[in-house]
Symmetry: C2
Subunit: 165 residues, 2 copies
């Protein structure tokens, strides 16, 4: 399939939330699995020049997760949070914290919705809510967009491979 | 001590957050304990005409919690969430969901800060961040203010009793 799906990041000025919206050429059940199974997640999440290692991943209501991205020079970027709710295959609600910030305690609440589209396709909408507009703006300025888009392209490839099998 | 501490709830129009601010005539260590030990929490949290029962309470990073308030007629109001971070005695970051809403998945991210004040007193500031302004406004309209204030008055009494011992 030649369709090129684009990642859209919406961050309205002055608000403490942003939205990441992306369609995939795969059913939502498959996309949901790629978000909630550690052995799949490590194959696509994040920038393509980083390696991802899962430290903790307990995909149940109330379960914790933690993973580390590392680059070729051995720099490590840790992230952790807790699953508030997993509602397969339609919704994930979780907390999210980047451990590399100057101080701890800057946490976002992420709600990911998985919708079915015609033709075996699907749409993922992730809302990230922040404790402040500054926190949200800091995340946008951090260059998250590039990493998110690269991750989605890697997920495209993973989903294509799964469906070819 | 005759000082009467007032609970302030700040909810600016159009924002998806609110703040609950309250001083207590007790050191923050004692107040923090009252928020994080189940046998103390049940003695003060919520309106005075309701009975609180703890179903789950695991006060560690990544731990889950659930409690039920019930009235004299047997009506039950469940709440649950997950602790993202407990930093004794200064900060609690957790998710919070009221199970009585028409649909699941309306979750808030709560950050409670405990500060020391002179004279063995303390101040608690709770920020609740919502997925939408509507969710925030719905919580305000639900009459939360009365329950929060009654809870704080019950906490005043508990803290006075603990310090008299």
């Amino acid at each position: 399939m030649l369709s090129k799906n684009e990642t859209t990041i919406k961050a309205l000025p002055g608000r403490q939330e942003l939205f990441i919206i992306r369609e995939f050429d795969a059913p939502r059940e498959l996309v949901y699995r790629a978000f909630t199974e550690a052995d799949l997640l490590v194959q696509w999440l994040g920038p393509k020049n980083l390696t991802m290692k899962v430290d903790t991943f307990n995909p149940v209501n109330g379960g914790a997760w933690r993973y580390i991205h590392s680059d070729a020079n051995g720099n490590e970027y840790g992230f952790h949070g807790v699953f508030h709710e997993l509602q397969a295959p339609e919704r994930i609600i979780q907390t999210f914290e980047f451990e590399g910030l100057p101080e701890k305690g800057h946490v976002e609440l992420d709600t990911a919705l998985f919708e079915s589209l015609p033709g075996g396709r699907s749409k993922v909408t992730i809302q990230a809510v922040y404790q402040s507009v500054d926190d949200r703006d800091g995340m946008v300025r951090s260059g998250m967009e590039g990493g998110v888009k690269e991750g989605h392209e890697r997920l495209d490839a993973l989903l294509a491979k799964q469906q070819a099998n």
